[in-house]
Symmetry: C2
Subunit: 396 residues, 2 copies
Amino acid sequence: MSRFEPNLRIPGPTALPPSVREAGSRQMINHRGPEFAALLGRIGDGMKPYFGTHGDVAILTCAGTGGLEAAVVNTLSPGDRVLGISIGAFGDRFAGIAEAYGAQVERMTAEWGWAAEPNEVRERLAAGGGDYRAVLVTHNETSTGVMNPVADLAAAIRETAPDALILVDTVSSLGAVPFEMDAWGCDVVVTGSQKAWMAAPGLAMVAASDRAWAAMETATMPRYYLDLRRHRAQLAKGETPWTPAVAVAFQVDEGLRLMAEETPAGVFARHEVCAAATQAGLEALGFRLFADPNHRSKTVTAAWIPDELDWKVVNGELKRRDLVLAGGQGKLAGKVFRVGHLGMVRLEDILGAIGTIEEVLAEQGRLAQPGAGVAAAERAAIEVEGGHQAAAAVLR
Amino acid sequence: MSRFEPNLRIPGPTALPPSVREAGSRQMINHRGPEFAALLGRIGDGMKPYFGTHGDVAILTCAGTGGLEAAVVNTLSPGDRVLGISIGAFGDRFAGIAEAYGAQVERMTAEWGWAAEPNEVRERLAAGGGDYRAVLVTHNETSTGVMNPVADLAAAIRETAPDALILVDTVSSLGAVPFEMDAWGCDVVVTGSQKAWMAAPGLAMVAASDRAWAAMETATMPRYYLDLRRHRAQLAKGETPWTPAVAVAFQVDEGLRLMAEETPAGVFARHEVCAAATQAGLEALGFRLFADPNHRSKTVTAAWIPDELDWKVVNGELKRRDLVLAGGQGKLAGKVFRVGHLGMVRLEDILGAIGTIEEVLAEQGRLAQPGAGVAAAERAAIEVEGGHQAAAAVLR
């Protein structure tokens, strides 16, 4: 463990604000009493605006992957025809879950680094006859740093496969960027406590449309622990069916309070500023970003490791300076590194990270112009902030 | 929330010791880094003596119910013949999970309040031809306060159905009482962080025998999130397959450190003392205990609510005094109350609880002899402690 607090720049678990850490240290309470019922109610109500839904939000004790499994097993039956749109490791995982439970999954795979194209999805669904029971979509692909245009993808799906359920993985995006589940016509949406919500891992939050709740009545994939209908039934009593991760719930509640204080618009703007600064800073340092520039993620950035760079040495030096980055996942292991900029992140954390990378590269004799990275990051941040101020002025 | 720390006498979540609370407030770390790998290793190694196993212990992010589901779906196939031995709500749940995944479950149900009888199990298995794929057993039935004689039950099963896998729910017992998984021939054993381990809920710990690991290679029930083979593969790298409940892992690690300091024998003796004091105290206050005296649980006690007692009024008064008890579960709702005495519990907490119940009953004019409850609890504790000291003296 480091003597000082590290700059934890991985795409989750994200660092905890002081008051969220304190919430994690609270004494246990009866999870079948009025205090927990009030807490569960606050979390559900607090989450709804970020989901963009008027429906119930179920609070499951599991990782995001468990939440994705809940989306699949509650709404589908073995043999169901499913289109799994994958743009990276998490899209592959989502499809893999549906396959493990016997869905007939057709995979539509974009080259890693690219987003899914609404027109291609439209064509694929039309060519397939449109009779899909569900389409699996990743909002933010954490492995590649690409954010899919879910509103456009959902519109394309609704147009060509009107009866398909749209199941969306927003584990590493919801709460950091605007999302409108009801308006866009998404059916099940899944997020995780350790991402934008600034809490420890352990809870997945799952919202479902009326159509999805209706589908659960006839879906036959086996389920028990992740049964959303049991959750909904208990939610009405202010409880969860099984003992919930109470301490994580304390933290999510406090994280939501901090987010409300900042306002959702403020939270979203902060993520935009930090994403722009990270991406401009890394590019100015000579890194080639992995993601298509039109669909770069607002929560995580992946960059190629140049062939001539010994990443182990560089990353060791970064760790010694308390900067913690993430490596590549799946087939990108050893080929890219990733910088998380979601949850508890300020421009200062990004400037510190870019500056630290810059300093290490300069020390290693790998950099001609020290200072360019941080300068570019600052300029990008000022530009985004200016845009927001201009927008706010117009609205005034 | 109370101004003072409540006496949380429910059978989980159990109260957290101060240093465990502090552990819950730690900053997040990379769950794919060396610090977490060391933590995961410590938890696994620290748990093994309590399981009584030399095998791996998988750490799953879920409630105990998720751990029970993992035991079922990893080792069984749809259509498998299973004997579900149930002595209460949690035994029913275990059987229900196996049924939800398509096992052909025959239920062997004891009257609530009674333990399963090894001879009856032997007869039932022999009458059934012995060709069961698995037998489901609850060690401690939290709903009734009965502890099953698992060593004897396992011996009976091994004798009459040698090929059956023995899956054991020890969610609310492991860590509080001796258990010898390997020696007794149990195949999958499941516990939860919020019980004897003095941590918040969110982690289930699951150990499997070589036979169970082999069964997982051919078992066909669908699974993904709870796939134990994925956990074992990642465990070798010091990781979990999905993002784990890091803060709860911090707490379990600290809880295990406290338990090691006390020694397992000390922990078990403390639970015996507290159980004896609770049970003697409640009986001296005129409550009829729910469980068969020969198989009373060492971790939770259920007592009948007398017909003439308005429990809502009494319980409201207890809550006002910061004493939190649990109600009845399932068909016992409104008929019994339950006192948890596991995890962070000292004789002092039990004497305080018995004394508080006594005082409220006296205030309500329901008690002829105030003082009898606490006196009986103290006598019972002294007797058990004396037995332990005598045993220790013999060993010396």
